[in-house]
């Protein structure tokens, strides 16, 4: 089953809409709460990343009996050095973004922690695609 959500860059008040919707769906499917939490936390981080860094993005969620695959595609600056970005505490967020309580450099590490497979493809100046797979019975 597929669901899609659009994310607006710079609009922090709407960050978390996709993760809330996905949570509602997974609850209805009787998925165990631990798996729901992992999916929701990882997706929320991904949403905040798009809002904080990109112009816009789209979330595609595919739900199957095995688990959830989330693809987050954005149009934005891209990530020049992915291994560096994966380090805890590393952040390129602007002071304005940090003032709002985001940009602590925990986004990508948190996403990695909360999914079973994470892959990031990025082209500087174009955008980033993050793919996260979470299995229900991991």
């Amino acid at each position: 089953m597929n669901f899609s959500y659009h994310i607006e860059g710079g609009n922090f008040s709407r960050a978390g809409i996709a993760s809330s919707e996905v949570k509602k769906i997974l609850k209805q499917l009787n998925v165990n709460p631990t798996a729901i939490k992992r999916v929701v936390v990882a997706l929320y981080e991904a949403e905040v990343n798009v809002v904080a860094h990109a112009y816009e993005g789209d979330v595609h969620v595919d739900i199957s009996p095995e688990g959830v695959t989330v693809v987050v595609d954005d149009r934005g600056p891209g990530i020049p050095d992915i291994p560096l970005a994966m380090q805890e505490g590393y952040s390129t967020a602007s002071p304005e973004v940090r003032e709002m309580g985001f940009g602590a450099g925990m986004g990508l590490p948190n996403m990695q922690k909360n999914c079973d497979e994470l892959s990031i493809e990025s082209e500087v100046g174009k955008g980033t695609r993050v793919t996260m797979k979470t299995r229900f019975n991991a």
């Binding site: 809330s20 009787n30 631990t34």
Partner: protein
């Protein structure tokens, strides 16, 4: 599935199925069938939003017969703090105590007497189980039930502690038993400001039976006291030297911030059940970290806004604040004996059982079946108008789609669908009328 006791009832002759309650219910537990609101027992959390929203007073709170108190020799009444807030300032606490004795109670205890003990028990539990942060207070039974049905993943954060009413009851029973009174002679009654506390006594969560024997609705008792006060106006009752010293903190406990202000760390106080749902969503998503304690109350302004209160809640709060001030200016000397039983109460104040989840969100136990049902719901949503008018007898188009998939409703209940079917000659005007009668009752169309 086991059924749950609910005190909220719909009066058949009075309810016209106006849908006010249906659209406000935080768990979407209400449908209109044959012109009357019907509450789903598995989804209802006893918050009382339906009662507050009803323009016809068709929703009421069932209560025990008052005369049951006379089955007991020791008739103990436990009072919520907000009781005093119901009265005008010239009515003194002494007068209220005297009236309670006059109507038949032998002992009066305020639930607030136990809050010092509860605060201590809470602190100890939090210290020992720090890994379970954020702690959620079990104070409001409607919130505990809301978490059971809508946020089962957060159940482990609820403090498994008995509340003031139960602690006061344990204290009273222990005290009189120690004095040699036969347990069967002791009857303990709680005066409730809301429907949720009644449900908590009739079908408690986390314990097999409540420590309280019966419930008296606050509005009923208020009338009884008022009646007594006017009867004794020219001939005042002698005062009963029973009032114990209550600290301002104890009096404030049932007000918003009354719990949260007692504890260290980041403590939030949220009132209003829809506000509470918003916060619980955030907690569940890990959007809010570093919270230590959550005081969550279903009613706006907490207990002063209870479903069975009589006075305006702002005036209730004003009166209670004055009482707090009065305690500071002029402390009573009669000691609070409950504090003496502190260790016993802390040891016996834990909930015995786990709080079980009662999720109402899942479409099916089986994932694949649930997914098929969800796909059907999504298909149905494409043809529904999405205006959530309520004319089908469910609170929203999505709820109708869900009910259809669960076999609880027909898609043709939707008036838009009926119009479409009539236009395509797939439904006659009579059939459409019949469907409307099923939702709104035959009487509705009788003019």
């Amino acid at each position: 599935m086991e059924t749950f006791y609910h005190a909220l009832k719909v009066a058949p002759g009075t309810c016209i199925g106006c849908t006010h309650c249906m659209s406000l219910c935080p768990t979407r537990a209400i449908r209109v069938v044959r012109g009357m609101a019907v509450i789903d027992k598995n989804a209802c959390v006893d918050c009382g939003m339906c009662l507050k929203s009803c323009p016809r007073q068709a929703i009421y709170v069932a209560q025990d017969d008052f005369n049951q108190i006379f089955q007991y020799k020791y008739r103990v009444v436990i009072l919520p703090t907000v009781l005093f807030g119901q009265f005008a300032e010239e009515v003194t606490e002494d007068q209220i105590f005297a009236e309670l004795h006059d109507m038949g109670f032998t002992h009066v205890i305020e639930a607030a007497q136990a809050y010092g003990v509860l605060a201590k028990a809470t602190r100890r539990y939090m210290q020992k189980h720090a890994y379970l942060r954020p702690f959620i207070s079990a104070f409001c039974p409607a919130i505990v039930r809301l978490i059971q049905v809508r946020f089962p993943a957060l159940l482990e954060h609820i403090l498994p502690l008995k509340q003031g009413m139960d602690l006061a009851a344990i204290y009273a029973r222990r005290k009189f038993t120690a004095e040699g009174v036969a347990p069967g002679d002791i009857g303990i009654f709680y005066v409730t400001p809301c429907a949720a506390k009644i449900a908590a006594i009739k079908s408690p969560v986390g314990e097999d039976r409540s420590d309280v024997d019966g419930v008296i609705n606050l509005d009923f008792l208020y009338n009884k006291i008022q009646l007594g006060l006017s009867r004794h106006r020219d001939n005042p009752l002698p005062p009963v030297p029973e009032q114990t010293y209550l600290s301002p903190d104890a009096i404030a406990w049932t007000l918003s911030e009354g719990e949260a202000s007692n504890f260290e760390g980041r403590c939030l106080a949220i009132d209003g059940i829809h506000n509470v749902s918003d916060i619980l969503e955030k907690i569940e998503n890990d959007e809010l970290l570093d919270i230590d304690y959550l005081e969550l109350r279903a009613c706006s302004h907490s207990c002063p806004g209870g479903t069975l209160t009589v006075n305006n809640r702002f005036l209730t709060i004003e009166r209670l604040r004055k009482r707090m001030q009065g305690v500071t200016d002029n402390p009573r000397t009669c000691p609070n004996d409950i504090a003496g039983d502190e260790e016993y109460l802390i040891a016996n104040g834990r909930l015995h059982e786990e709080i079980p989840p009662r999720s109402i969100d899942q479409l099916d136990e089986n994932f694949v079946t649930a997914m098929q049902k969800m796909e059907k719901i999504n298909r149905i949503m494409e043809v529904l108008p999405r205006i959530d008018c309520g004319a089908c007898g469910t609170p929203s188009c999505h709820t109708l789609a869900r009910d259809v998939v669960q076999g609880k409703a027909k898609l043709s209940q939707c008036v838009f669908m009926q119009k479409l079917l009539c236009r395509e000659s797939l439904m006659t005007a009579e059939e459409s009328m019949e469907l409307s009668e099923q939702t709104w009752g035959e009487k509705r169309f009788e003019q």
